[in-house]
């Protein structure tokens, strides 16, 4: 069965347009926990709380404010937010090609794969191959989930990989990080070079695993075997609500059923 795409459209530049699907390239494997009430093991939910009135706030009383001065806000509605959102788009438009070695890894945000959709296989293969031989990456703009992303498209193991990039103004300056330049002695330099060289290996990340996760999974397996399970009470469902149209039509039909 084909992998479910997150997005589908075309990747294009000049006269080329290749139908593709975007699929995720990583699956975080962290162990996550639910917060439960210790008295009855109910799943806890988050509610919005107004400390002023000491009460829960229903969703229709929640608005969005940008804090411009302490305790001073500019209100922003959904419509206003939408008005600045980019148009939905079905293309990943490559605007320039760059040398892969020029991409500074600090810009990398989130990796995906691009897979060819029906009819795009041949052009896709050609692009993968040419980008590989020329060591070029495509820099592209791309709208997904109401955000415009800057992305880099790479040729990787016979396929296209896409990595979203941070915008340059998100990268913090490193001026303060590096100490003032001093003189480096030739002997010190060669000593350090030597100790680095002694530790050189091929890049093989498979050697490393999240040890805490491993132990946690083992612990969970042991506890599951010991049947140390607690059970949540049956979930209380909300009153049957639904789309206003549907509820109105059901009420009308119900009236007729009862009138018979």
């Amino acid at each position: 069965m084909a992998v479910q795409g997150i997005w589908s459209g075309t990747i294009s530049f000049s006269l080329v347009a290749i139908p593709v699907r975007l699929v995720k390239a990583i699956e975080p494997r962290g162990v996550s926990f639910h917060l439960l009430h210790s008295k009855d093991y109910s799943r806890l939910s988050r509610k919005m709380f107004c400390p002023e009135e000491n009460t829960m706030v229903p969703p229709d009383e929640i608005v969005r404010g940008y804090e411009i001065l302490p305790d001073k806000y500019i209100l922003m509605t959904d419509e206003e937010l939408e008005s600045v959102s980019p148009e939905r788009s079905r293309t990943i438009e490559i605007v320039e090609f760059i040398d892969t070695k020029d991409v500074d890894p600090i810009y990398y945000d989130h990796p995906y794969y691009l897979v060819p959709s029906k009819g795009g296989e041949k052009a896709y293969q050609l692009l993968v191959e040419v980008m590989r031989r020329t060591n070029k990456a495509g820099l592209a703009k791309f709208v997904m989930a109401e955000r415009e992303y800057l992305v880099a498209v790479f040729s990787r193991d016979g396929a296209l990989a896409l990595t979203t990039l941070h915008y340059s103004d998100e990268i913090l300056p490193d001026e303060d990080m590096s100490p003032k330049k001093g003189k480096i002695g030739a002997e010190e330099e060669s000593r350090m070079k030597k100790s680095i060289e002694q530790m050189i290996e091929d890049f093989n990340p498979g050697k490393y695993a999240d040890e805490r996760r491993k132990k946690l999974v083992d612990l969970l397996a042991t506890k599951a075997k010991e049947k140390a399970l607690v059970e949540a009470p049956a979930v209380e469902e909300e009153e049957g609500e639904g789309p206003a149209d549907l509820v109105a039509a059901l009420e009308e039909s119900m009236r007729k059923v009862k009138a018979r």
Partner: protein, 301 residues
């Protein structure tokens, strides 16, 4: 372990422990079970076809432990069709597809008395081809109360332009099916619609109906379980046996018949055992056929 061989179109199939009584208080051996499924095969197979089967196995009979098995057993014969279906947690599971008599017999030889299948086919796991209302009576309510609720549901759905079909669960409840058979239906649609219907039913018949899952809400009422309309849920397949004290079957009933039986006031009359199931299907054919083919669109969504 005793072994027998049966010759089938695909070759010789070994069967084990045929003499073992799997319904001890009634007296129904594995041979009887295989015989039942062989007889009902022409009717049940279209309903199992291309659906990811969850096996519910009772190797020591209905009075002993059972286990669910989603993954199609690795020791399956080469001709058993399977399909990979993505799960909620992102994993994929390879399920058995019971698309022919041989597979049905093989599955029953594993003592999977109950056959549970999703509301969608394996090739389109996010497209339900029917919407279901699982009517579950909370003691002291019984199947007759379910029948009353089902009849109101039928009228309500019919006013909404939707035909519905009913079967017994083979346990204590009834299942109302609304065939959809459209590519554009989603589980979100069926869930939204069925939840709204359950809510309206509860509002208008508060003494008879609850749409709430909580156990204490269900006492003496019929719980309309709309949450079965979910890609991760399965329903007992129509014509499947149930693991009860007797080999009851989840069996389709005509609405007219349900009206009559509801009036008689005998809950036992609503249960169908294996022999009656075979006889009635031979007489009336598959009353659930429309569920597989009738196209309907949920209005007001």
């Amino acid at each position: 372990m005793s072994r027998t061989f049966v010759d089938m179109a695909r070759g010789r199939l070994p069967l084990s422990n045929l003499e073992k009584d799997l319904y001890p208080s009634y007296g129904f051996t594995k041979a009887n079970i295989l015989e039942y499924y062989r007889g009902i095969a022409p009717f049940i197979l279209p309903h199992l076809k291309d659906r990811a089967l969850t096996l519910k196995r009772y190797p020591e009979g209905v009075e002993q432990d059972f286990f669910f098995e989603k993954r199609c057993p690795m020791h399956r014969p080469a001709w058993v069709k399977t399909a990979e279906v993505p799960q909620d947690d992102g994993d994929k599971i390879r399920f058995c597809l019971v698309n022919d008599l041989e597979t049905l017999i093989w599955v029953e030889n594993l003592a999977s008395l109950e056959l549970h299948v999703p509301l969608a086919r394996a090739g389109s796991p996010w497209t339900p081809d029917s919407m279901v209302f699982d009517l579950d009576p909370g003691d002291p309510a019984n199947i007759l109360d379910c029948a009353r609720v089902a009849l109101i549901l039928r009228d309500l759905l019919s006013r909404m332009g939707l035909a519905s079909y009913i079967k017994t669960s083979g346990q204590k409840g009834l299942h109302v099916f609304v065939p959809l058979n459209r590519k554009d239906t989603t589980f979100e649609d069926t869930k939204t619609f069925s939840k709204a219907v359950a809510g309206i039913m509860q509002k208008h018949y508060p003494a008879l109906v609850t749409a709430k899952m909580a156990k204490q809400e269900r006492i003496g009422k019929v719980f309309i379980n709309w949450s079965q309309n979910d890609a991760s849920k399965t329903m007992i397949c129509v014509y499947s046996l149930r693991a009860r004290e007797k080999p009851f079957v989840s069996f389709p009933v005509e609405w007219k018949e349900l009206e009559d039986l509801a009036g008689l006031g005998d809950p036992e009359r609503l249960q169908v055992v294996h022999s009656e199931a075979v006889r009635r299907t031979e007489e009336k054919g598959d009353l659930f056929r429309d569920v597989l083919v009738k196209e309907q669109k949920l209005p007001h969504l």
